[in-house]
């Protein structure tokens, strides 16, 4: 078991608390100095979302909007922002979290009503962008839990230690509060994330964790934010290579790519969520051909999506361009579980070892 060395971690909660306090203090300062209180909110418009070649994910550009109490139309929005910031400051201070839904209901008592939850969600995002912090750090938790993890890693949540090899067959569930979890130690050499829980259970059953000294991560489709944060942390804090194995279709490709290079919509938090060193293991168009997998024909919507991906800067890489072209050419897609054509064990006994060999 490799012990994880104690790092002089910055306390994320403390930083967030200070940022939130600072936002209020700036307004008070403006008032004291008889200036009109103004907030600068970075723009999340598409023209301000830029793919950063060096970082290998989307970031926000430097455009921002001003919200001023001197503008009658902006007074309500500033009032809402201050209320939400205050609610979050309270959460952080009391070490609590709330869902966006709960915040919306709590806001009924603020007398500065949101017309619907979408409106309060957007103000929450305004605070995220303005302070350059994630909603999780603000205490605003997504409803959904993250992926399932199986394998020899020990985590600490508060005063509880959890071994993801001893959490049951469905493994350890990554909670939305993943940033409060410490890595204590591990005995693995890599991480393999798979799209479906069917494949997750197959890998647990065939003892893939043992055969490949790997953590097995069951993504359950599109990876939740907590999952992306977990994969980034194991990759960067524990120096573990991360491989992603999904269905061989444009949707499977993109589940991998959002883990690798983040989404445009979350450009303001990709520095916390994207794992540019993560690698797509398969199922690729080449795999479909080489392993003679059972396939389904591409639907129109699949073809359309593949053509979109070909133009997406995240897929600039030659290997991706070739795979997209190849899939369009054969006009076929294949599921992760289609390796069972050769028996249930084949994917673990043959496919994974061959692919890992080629990639490492």
């Amino acid at each position: 078991m490799t012990d994880v060395k104690e790092k002089t971690k910055l306390n994320r909660k403390e930083i967030t608390y200070n940022k939130l306090k600072g936002l209020g203090q700036d307004i008070i300062n403006d008032v004291t100095e008889k200036k009109i209180p103004t907030l600068s909110v970075p723009s999340r418009g598409t023209s301000n979302i830029v793919y950063d070649d060096a970082k290998r994910y989307y970031v926000l550009g430097d455009r921002y909007g001003k919200r001023s109490l001197g503008n009658v139309k902006q007074i309500k929005k500033i009032g809402q922002m201050v209320h939400v910031a205050n609610f979050c400051k309270d959460l952080v201070q009391r070490e609590k979290t709330a869902t966006l839904r709960e915040m919306y209901y709590v806001s009924e008592g603020w007398g500065i009503g949101f017309d619907n939850q979408q409106e309060s969600n957007i103000v929450g995002e305004d605070i995220e962008v303005t302070l350059g912090t994630t909603r999780e750090d603000l205490g605003l938790m997504p409803e959904e839990d993250g992926a399932s993890v199986y394998g020899n890693i020990v985590l600490q949540e508060g005063d509880i230690e959890i071994n993801a090899l001893k959490s049951g067959k469905s493994g350890y569930t990554i909670s939305p509060t993943i940033d409060e979890v410490d890595f204590v130690g591990h005995d693995v050499k890599r991480v393999i994330a798979v799209e479906t829980m069917g494949m997750f259970h197959r890998m647990v059953q065939e003892k893939a964790y043992d055969k490949f000294d790997t953590l097995i991560v069951g993504l359950k489709g599109q990876a939740a934010r907590a999952t992306r944060r977990f994969l980034k942390r194991v990759n960067e804090e524990l120096n573990l290579p991360v491989y992603i194995c999904n269905d061989g279709d444009p949707w499977g490709f993109h589940i991998a790519m959002v883990i690798i290079s983040g989404s445009a919509k979350l450009a303001h938090v990709n520095h916390d969520l994207a794992t540019p060193n993560a690698k797509f293991l398969g199922v690729s168009a080449s795999d479909i051909i080489n392993y003679e997998l059972p396939t389904d024909p591409l639907k129109d919507i699949d073809v359309l999506r593949l053509k979109e991906l070909a133009k997406d800067p995240r897929y600039r890489d030659e290997a991706w361009q070739n795979e997209i072209k190849k899939m369009l050419k054969i006009g076929k897609k294949a599921e992760q579980q289609s390796f069972s054509k050769y028996g249930l064990e084949y994917v673990v006994d043959t496919y994974f070892p061959e692919k890992l060999d080629a990639m490492e």
Copy 2:
């Protein structure tokens, strides 16, 4: 900690294995005796699905169909059944499981092809019904994991003991193989299942497990089969009362009812899945009024669904009929999380204690 006494449990796997073997043996016997091999498959048609007042859930009636090798149209179907049964026998013997998707791909090698997965799924269900066993016992696992469980219960999976109070903030995940899990001990007086993970995390944060000596179960919407099996087992094997708290709308009502009285579609396995003693705690129409909850107006589809429920035998009970009428009258629904109007803690500090008091 209450220790769970060792029970002389029948070995479900052994029983299933014998049933599967028996199915093949019957055919061999017919052949040896020069009779035409025939299988009796209980009918799953709506006219054979009956609500059993004594058992308080749907069961299959006594109608069945014959499949005979003497009927040319039925030869392929019998061949498929025998192949699937053989595949399952192999799974059970090797202590493995497979998803229906995997079985479909494996079947490519059988030379008695299924046109699509729906066809192989149905044959799997034929075997379930014919042998009176669940697909889980046959080794055919659903893709989806069950609910999250938080609280002081110790479970055993193989040689691993798991305490659901020490599995992390997202708790212990009920695996599709829940019937292979043993209850070792617990220190709780009840079980509260909630519809959303937002409410699950709220309860964990407010220490509801401690305040109410309860297990907290996060259903994640409609309860998975594994969750229903878990709730039935804690109710019947551990004698723990089970309460269900969902959104106050027809869909929330029905999530509770399927746990309580099973679904019509699964009439053949409700004896393993339904928990007739489980109780609906809320959110009821009365709660909406009494707690002056924030509401949304009922949509046409909600009204339609409520009227359907009013005619459903599972809702015959006077209390249900009154709640359905009341909701139709006020024309409003409310979400579980709407209690946050009174602060994040209110639901645990006030609502749950008041309701539990009234119900116990």
